[in-house]
Amino acid sequence: MSEQLFKVTIDNITIEVPPGTTILNAARKIGGDVAPPAMCYYSKLEGSGGKCRTCLVEVSKGSEKDPRPMPKLVASCRTTVMDGMEVKNITSERVVDARAGVVEFLLLNHPLDCPICDQAGECHLQDLSYEHGKEATRYEFQRRTFQKHDLGPYIQLHMTRCILCYRCVFTADQLTKKREHGVLDRGDHSEIATLIEKSLDNDFIGNIIDVCPVGALTDKTFRFKNRVWFLKPMDAHRDCPTCSGKVTLWNRGDEVYRVTARKDEWGEVEEWICNTCRFEKKKTSDWVIEGPRLINRHSVISQGHYAGSVGTVIPTETFKAVNDGRQPRLLMDIHDISEVNQTGTSLSAIERPAHSTDFNSKKA
């Protein structure tokens, strides 16, 4: 069968895509602001999408043969393109308005505890709410609460933050042989949990941290250790027998605070990584560093990474050369006095969140 391409126009930009492509994927091919946001759809996970409704778009012309517009906004992650289809995303006021409403609905039960949440700074829901000006809440009632579940030593579950996108369920289904967690109960009570306290210990289960669009599933070994925008993302790899070993290290100085998979421009992982790489290799010597990871300039993560260099090349010191070989006289070495970021002790070496017992002040 000869491959016939469908012509689809999204926000007045025409692109040809193979039949069966969804509107979202066609828009992602164009890229930029035209691509609708997605909280539940994940291109690497089969069957994901259709739950969060943030990717709603307006179809102003159904196809060449049937040019009638679709009466309602459609979920672009689940709607395939037709030949001659015309789609409006950000050019449609209806879409922008509806999306702002969806964001507000998602935030109904989502606690606004971003100051505490480890996902803050790389949270898709946070980005989305700020983009739509919905960072404050109008909700006046008690938010849903849950019994705490322990998912083992590596993964921290915050069920109150969950938006039930099912990505972690699909990840466990498609990456591991046996899924041990899932969504229990229904409606307002539905929650991610293991049936009868079980710890998740599959070798690839750490990937559910990366797929989580909010801070519901976070890395316990990184919990509260640092904020992502103070860390430097570096591409690195290692010879891993179980996975590709291609990761992003989140460094502060030479300390590796966190290891994640590499994420592309849509916030999706490029290659899944195993638990050993993610949780156990927290030394720079374990990794071959390739260089700084390119971060969007508008992301908070790129703050403090000055002008193009993310610390790969140490600038040559000119002081000695112009001062007859004299070293500058240090009037105060901050590390002698400051107790924060001590060079000797490393928070990243602790495998659990730091507690008050880990901070024995040297002054006291």
Partner: protein
């Protein structure tokens, strides 16, 4: 040439008038101004005993605030540090243990919090960035010190006194504005 501003004025080189040449009237006029000040209200403030009121927008030394129950408000979210243009603020966070609920308001707190007063420019952006009302610029100055190391302020220097055990010290540190 037309002057651009009214400030530039040509020097008056006219010969002095008789009144000016007499000299004494000008002296008397000047002395009248000088001695007139004796009877005016003195602007001098006898500093340690008497203090001038602070302006309502004065930005002084930082305090780390507590809530009504004396728990620390700071959750070490890092927004003050990221807002700080002088990069004076650093912190390390920790998780609250069971039994420490009376010490810290949230699950996460700043185990260490430091402000380098040598770097700080007292711009108040940390106060504006704080989502938890945890940091305030108070109505006091950073005291002088002989050594540089005395300007690294840790949590023990910055934390406000507990409002339950030391209400007077708390009210004093908080100032009248907040």
């Amino acid at each position: 040439m037309q002057a651009l501003t009214k400030r530039a004025q040509a020097v008056d080189r006219k010969p002095m008038t008789l009144m000016e040449r007499l000299y004494l009237p000008a002296i008397v006029k000047g002395m009248a101004i000088t001695f007139g000040h004796i009877f005016k209200k003195k602007p001098t403030v006898r500093y340690p005993e008497e203090k001038r009121p602070f302006s309502p927008v004065f930005r002084g030394l930082h305090v780390l605030n507590r809530d009504e129950e004396g728990r620390e408000r700071c959750t070490a979210c890092g927004l003050c540090a990221v807002a700080c243009p002088a990069e004076a603020i650093t912190m390390e966070a920790a998780e609250r243990l069971p039994g420490e609920e009376n010490l810290y308001r949230e699950e996460k707190y700043a185990a260490r919090y430091e402000i380098n007063m040598l770097r700080c420019i007292f711009c108040g952006l940390c106060e504006e960035a704080c989502p938890k009302d945890a940091i305030y610029l108070s109505e006091t100055f950073a005291p002088a010190n002989y050594a540089r190391k005395g300007f690294i302020y840790g949590k023990d220097d910055l934390l406000i006194p507990d409002p339950k055990t030391e209400p007077e010290a708390y009210a004093k540190a908080k100032g009248e504005r907040n």
